[in-house]
């Protein structure tokens, strides 16, 4: 205070500062212009990304939305006993001898009869062409229904069967008379007949629950393909990921943040966790293949393996935000707890963890959402397989073959039939809805539990 000697030296006043406050000098103008330019860049960047997002959503929704509607034929079908249950025992095991070929004949007969009754002209189409407007899946639908209710044999039932994918595409605008002329799978006459069936009230479009509940279908019958197995598979995997990664991730972050000594080893662990979060997910797929399938002998295509692989992938992505959340709890809270004689563990579990919970949960849900959308590692552990059978209930279900939503999208985009393009986009919509719900939950949790201190 006393060592300041002499008064302050007079600083030279720059000339520019002597001007009026009412006019901007050159430097101020340049600074203001730079600020305005920067704001403009930001606005342009935001606009571009918003446009890209809107374009993406519009294209996905416009292609995918039709997948939620499907064309069906509803007509009375006679189930003759002499064809479907020659033994007359109504025993499903015996009736199962009749294959879908037998049921196809029943459907063809019913369709011919319905067309005749309604007085629809067929312009001399062959019975095979007429039957061609029905999905290849329809006999299987009818067979499953009859085997489940054997008493229906001998009666005439009103039954709803799938229309062929091309016919369905015609009503959705994907197939036109011109493309039908070039297509060996469908003839223009069949489309004309389909239009007449719609007028007669036999054929109609309705909301397609089958898209969400049905299993996948083979290449020739996109109209029957659904997401049922994929949704269950993804759900099972998310359960595995949640059950494993929440306790492990939270325990690891609490240990590292609150208890671990700060030394070379923990520094190394810290760096490695950060690096693991950046490892390409397909690497985890190879790891899962080597460790869980080849070494541990777990079944391929099983949700348990997918869940384990995704857990490995998700853990670092949970630990990092969880540690950040723990770190953001002010040290004064820890001091307060320790000051009244709480142990380290008590101070963490009574005070720090509740305050960090919203951050930890948000990180957890975002990690889960990433895992839900992950495709690459699942391809390597065989979840890309064609699975028609629903996995059973837990715990056995975790070991049954299943598919997963993103893999199903991948799977369908590879297939030839244009009907699958629509299905793939529809599956993306379903996936996006799930992700949207999870992110909404994350936001709600954050809002609800956010506390000020």
């Amino acid at each position: 205070m006393t060592d300041i000697s002499g008064g302050p030296a007079a600083l030279p006043v720059p000339k520019s500062r002597r001007g009026s406050l009412l006019t901007q000098d050159a430097l101020t103008k340049r600074r203001n212009a730079a600020e305005a330019r920067f704001k403009a860049y930001g606005a342009v960047a935001i606009t571009l990304s918003m446009l890209a997002l809107v374009w993406l959503l519009i294209s996905i929704i416009s292609v995918g939305a039709p997948a939620f509607r499907q064309t069906f034929l509803t007509m009375p079908i006679e189930l003759p006993e002499d064809k479907l249950d020659k033994s007359g025992t109504r025993d499903p095991a015996v009736m199962a001898k009749v294959t879908t070929v037998g049921y196809a004949a029943v459907i063809q007969a019913a369709l011919t009869k319905a067309i005749k009754e309604k007085g629809i002209s067929t312009d001399g189409m062959t019975p095979k062409d007429i039957a061609g407007i029905v999905s290849l899946e329809a006999p299987a639908q009818l067979r499953n229904h009859v085997l489940a209710n054997p008493d229906l044999v001998g009666q005439t039932i009103d039954f709803e069967i799938l229309a062929n994918g091309r016919v369905d595409g015609f009503f959705k605008g994907r197939v036109t008379m011109e493309t039908a002329r070039l297509d060996s799978n469908i003839k223009p006459e069949q489309l004309v007949l389909a239009e007449r069936l719609v007028d007669a009230g036999i054929m109609a479009q309705r909301f397609n629950w089958g898209f969400i509940t049905a299993p996948d279908a083979s290449d020739q019958r996109p109209e029957a393909a659904g997401l049922g197995v994929a949704i269950i598979g993804s759900f099972y995997m998310m359960i595995v990921v949640l059950v494993l990664s929440l306790p492990i991730g939270v325990a690891a972050s609490i240990y590292l943040e609150e208890f671990a000594p700060k030394n070379r080893l923990t520094d190394l662990i810290e760096v490695n966790i950060a690096n693991l979060a950046a490892v390409p997910s397909i690497v985890f797929g190879i790891l899962g293949l080597a460790v869980f399938i080849n070494f541990a002998g777990l079944p391929q295509s099983a949700p348990i393996v997918g869940g384990l692989v995704l857990t490995l992938m998700t853990l670092p992505r949970i630990i990092i935000p969880a540690r950040a959340a723990l770190k953001s709890v002010p040290p004064s809270i820890r001091d307060a707890a320790l000051g009244v004689g709480a142990s380290r563990l008590q101070s963490v579990f009574h005070h720090v963890l509740p305050l960090a919970a919203p951050g930890i949960l948000t990180g957890m849900i975002i990690g889960l959402a990433q895992a839900l959308g992950e495709t690459a590692p699942l391809l390597l552990i065989g979840m890309v397989a064609f699975v028609r059978d629903y996995p059973s209930a837990p715990m056995q279900g975790f070991f049954d073959p299943a598919s997963a939503l993103p893999v199903q999208v991948f799977n369908w985009t590879v297939r030839g039939d244009p009907g699958f393009v629509e299905r793939a986009s529809g599956a993306i919509i379903v996936l996006l809805i799930f992700l949207l719900i999870m992110n909404a939950v994350a936001i709600i949790l954050r809002r609800r539990f956010e506390r000020r201190w």
């Binding site: 809270i333 820890r334 001091d335 307060a336 000051g339 009244v340 004689g341 008590q346 000020r452």
Partner: protein, 265 residues
């Protein structure tokens, strides 16, 4: 300096509660506290004064081993409370902290209700057997911290919703709810306005009847107002320690004199 009311400087007890001998503290390479010998008397307010970074808070935090939580902090020498060495390996710092309560510089109530804030200590130490006893402890603590009248109708509302001065009194109530024998206060009034400060100071004087209070303060007026004994720290050394009146009116060390007259610090 005119408002230093150096009066009623009666030391009730000459019994030594805390005995520190040759205390050295290192933060890694930094030698923060050098050879400190202090005797803190029972039922007395002892003030630690000194410029920033002189080691007074460090020494205070040694007394309930809060320094243990700082990485690379090493404490040497002996600190005895009732002739038991608190740095003995057999001592659990958790038990020690139940005996030596602490109030921090910034009011730091838990983001819980006022009731839960005060009840937390007794709960984790198992001091009460039932809800009625706990209610009583909470009420007594809040009354002693002069917060009962303001808080009795809002025990369930969050402690963080109180004003700064009320929050600090809540922290004092929380610290005394575990019935400590020593109460450490690290600049308890530095974040408070003069009225709240006056209330806390009055409170400290009342608490003296039950506890041995150690207070770190930047305000020499405060040290003069509330304490019976004062220790002056400078650059990690304990420069002078004695009766508050003597320190402020007749300091023996020239450094103490420079500090209290405002020439260093």
């Amino acid at each position: 300096m005119n408002d230093m009311r150096i009066a009623e400087r009666v030391v009730d007890s000459m019994e030594s509660k805390i005995t520190a001998r040759g205390v050295q503290v290192f933060y890694g390479q930094n030698h923060a506290l050098k050879d400190v010998d202090v005797d803190i008397l029972d039922k007395t307010v002892t003030a630690f004064i000194g410029p920033s970074g002189c080691g007074k808070s460090t020494f205070l935090r040694c007394l309930n081993r809060m320094n243990d939580t700082i990485d690379g902090c090493v404490v040497k020498g002996s600190i005895k409370i009732d002739s038991e060495d608190i740095y003995d390996p057999k001592v659990d710092p958790v038990q020690l902290r139940a005996k030596v309560g602490m109030v921090f510089q910034k009011p730091n109530p838990f983001p819980k209700s006022i009731y839960d804030n005060v009840a937390y200590g007794p709960k984790i130490h198992g001091l009460t057997r039932n809800k009625a006893e706990l209610d009583e402890v909470v009420e007594t603590s809040l009354r002693r911290a002069a917060l009962w009248n303001e808080a009795k109708d809002r025990l369930k509302s969050p402690g963080t919703g109180l004003s700064g001065g009320q929050q600090q009194r809540l922290c004092i109530a929380r610290a005394i709810a575990t019935s400590p024998e020593v109460l450490l206060m690290d600049e308890p009034c530095s974040a408070l306005d003069p009225i709240a400060t006056a209330q806390i100071e009055e409170l400290i004087d009342e608490l003296r009847s039950q506890f041995s209070v150690v207070i770190v303060t930047h305000s020499m007026q405060q040290a003069a107002r509330v304490s019976q004994r004062t220790a002056f720290f400078h650059l990690g050394y304990l420069v002078e320690f004695g009766e508050t009146g003597q320190i402020f009116t007749n300091p023996k060390d020239p450094r103490t004199e420079s500090y209290i007259t405002g020439r260093i610090g």
